[in-house]
């Protein structure tokens, strides 16, 4: 699949933002006043910024309000509704924390649940697609949720939860890569099933046209796969290893150094997740590539 920057920015930033909102809603940390203001500012900047980035890949964004109507069948519609609900509920909760020093707690729990539900609905947009075997698995949802929670804990300054969640997210990512690598073949999609031509081995003789097309641009992305293994190592190092080592080394410390180290850990994690997300799209193979002789 074409790794569009808008979608990578969207899933990376909003995943982190909603993860942070989930922790804030649970009162981890239980902040009030100016400290709360800055925490919520970061969380909303990430979540809303990500959602806005996602509208850049729309061909016809003026119809965006209609995306709230099809929640019965469409995960994309469910995501739109969940994200707005999470932002509104957490906004009310933030109002209490920032201006009244209050913790309107049932509201926070609801907001935290909605924030995680938003991340889940985002993951299901990809995990539901049978046409992309690499994504069509529960590990996709597990990965999105694990990374969102790990990043949220990191941003929320929850050292020990962050350590545990980062390691879990790393494990889920490794499992997703390992099982995703063989799923296309295991599902048995071939040019023979695509064309159902009997009597032998099928290969493409001629493409339907000499130029490119939307399908090839969008779904038959093949550039950059040769660096996939290196990028996986880089992504894993920045996403999990560097933040874990930094957190572990400074777990008992306090003062400005801790904040600086935390900032480095967060930035490393952010770049690592973006790199892993690029791979998530670039490595995903759509079955339509079979018709163009570009698979297997």
């Amino acid at each position: 699949m074409h790794p569009a920057p808008s979608v990578i920015i969207f899933t990376t930033l909003s995943g982190l933002g909603f993860g942070l909102l989930a922790f804030l809603g649970l009162g981890m940390p239980a902040v009030t006043g100016w400290v709360a203001f800055f925490f919520y500012l970061i969380a909303y900047a990430l979540a809303v910024g990500g959602l806005l980035a996602s509208t850049f890949h729309l061909g016809n964004p003026k119809n965006a309000p209609k995306a709230f109507t099809q929640w019965r069948t469409s995960w994309l519609s469910r995501e739109a509704i969940c994200s707005v609900a999470a932002l509104v509920i957490m906004g009310l909760y933030a109002l209490g924390a920032v201006f009244f020093g209050a913790s309107w707690q049932p509201l926070g729990w609801l907001g935290a649940a909605l924030s995680l539900l938003t991340v889940f609905t985002t993951s299901m947009i990809y995990a539901q697609l049978k046409t992309i075997p690499r994504w069509n698995h529960w590990l996709t949802s597990a990965l999105f949720l694990a990374l969102s929670l790990a990043g949220g804990a990191l941003l929320a300054g929850q050292v020990w939860p962050a350590l545990v969640l980062l390691v879990i997210a790393g494990g889920v990512q490794l499992a997703a890569w390992a099982s995703g690598d063989t799923r296309f073949r295991k599902r048995g999609h071939t040019l023979e099933t695509a064309t159902m031509l009997p009597g032998g081995t099928v290969r493409q003789f001629e493409a339907p046209h000499t130029g490119g097309n939307y399908l090839l641009d969008e779904m038959v992305f093949v550039v950059g796969r040769k660096h996939a293994q290196k990028l996986r190592v880089i992504a894993m190092a920045l996403m999990v290893v560097v933040p874990v080592v930094l957190l572990f080394l400074t777990a008992g410390a306090s003062g400005t150094v801790v904040h600086l180290v935390a900032l480095v850990a967060v930035l490393s994690h952010l770049v690592g997740v973006a790199c892993a997300r690029w791979l998530f799209f670039a490595e995903a193979e759509h079955v339509v590539g079979l018709y163009y002789g570009k698979r297997g």
Binding site: L58, G59, N60, L129, T131, P198, G200, R203, G211, L215
Partner: protein, 248 residues
């Protein structure tokens, strides 16, 4: 609403004969022409006369080669457009309700006034039947020429999809595949028509008729050049010419 109908009164669709298709691409051109001039946003081209032309098409003709274990390979021309699936995954993913499957005839359509241009339906389609138009920013797909087949302003013989009407080889057939007695249903039974990528469970309405097995040539006797000629004496005009030329 993007929920799929339980059943549809008719299942209008195409039956494509891979034995007959000659790969002339006339259906591609007819489709582009009709659907640019009629229903919805035109099918745009980008850099049509440039170095890397691109454009939106609702029907494309692939060509494949089938290589059996022994013997000669066979070339098959393979037209592909929307299969109007009964269990259309493109419809249910649509967030705005722009994509829908009609209860009355099973045609899968896009209401362009509602389309957000997110492209998720194109991701959900295994067959590459949907293309986002670069100029209009909305999703385009085969309408089964819904603006021809019911169009009483057209002569009756033109009330079928443009691709079917234009096909010079008669490789494309249009009809109700939900009616077991229809000509297209009979053709599918007779020729053992198949679904594409059946493992994905999309239940396509359009069917493909596989190429018939190739003829096998009778064995030629290696001694045949040494056999005596069957006709010694030539007759008629050739015989007269032969005799005249002999005498000169």
């Amino acid at each position: 609403m993007t929920a799929l109908p339980e059943t549809t009164a008719k299942k209008l669709g195409l039956v494509i004969d891979l034995d007959t298709c000659v790969g002339c691409h006339a259906c591609v051109v007819a489709c582009k022409g009709w659907n640019t001039e009629n229903y919805g946003a035109p099918l745009s081209d980008q850099s049509a006369y440039g170095a890397a032309p691109k454009g939106t098409f609702l029907n494309r003709v692939h060509a494949y080669e089938v290589q059996p274990d022994t013997g000669a390979a066979q070339t098959v021309h393979f037209p592909k457009s929307c299969l109007h699936c009964e269990d259309a995954p493109c419809v249910t993913v649509c967030p705005t309700g722009a994509s829908y499957k009609r209860v009355e005839d099973g045609i899968v359509l896009v209401n362009e006034d509602d389309c957000i241009g997110c492209g998720l339906c194109a991701w959900a389609c295994p067959y590459g039947a949907r293309e986002l138009d670069k100029a209009a920013g909305v999703m385009k797909k085969c309408t089964l020429c819904v603006d021809r087949i019911y169009n009483e302003n057209l002569p009756e013989e033109d009330r079928e999809p443009a691709c079917v009407r234009t096909c010079p080889a008669g490789a494309r057939h249009f009809g109700d595949l939900g009616d077991p007695g229809s000509a297209v249903s009979q053709l599918v039974i007779e020729r053992e028509g198949v679904d594409l990528m059946p493992e994905l469970g999309t239940k396509p309405v359009n069917k493909y008729l596989p190429p018939r097995p190739k003829d096998v040539l009778d064995e030629i006797d290696v001694l045949s050049p040494f056999l005596a000629p069957v006709a010694e004496e030539s007759k008629g005009l050739a015989g007269w010419l032969d005799r005249v030329l002999e005498k000169i």
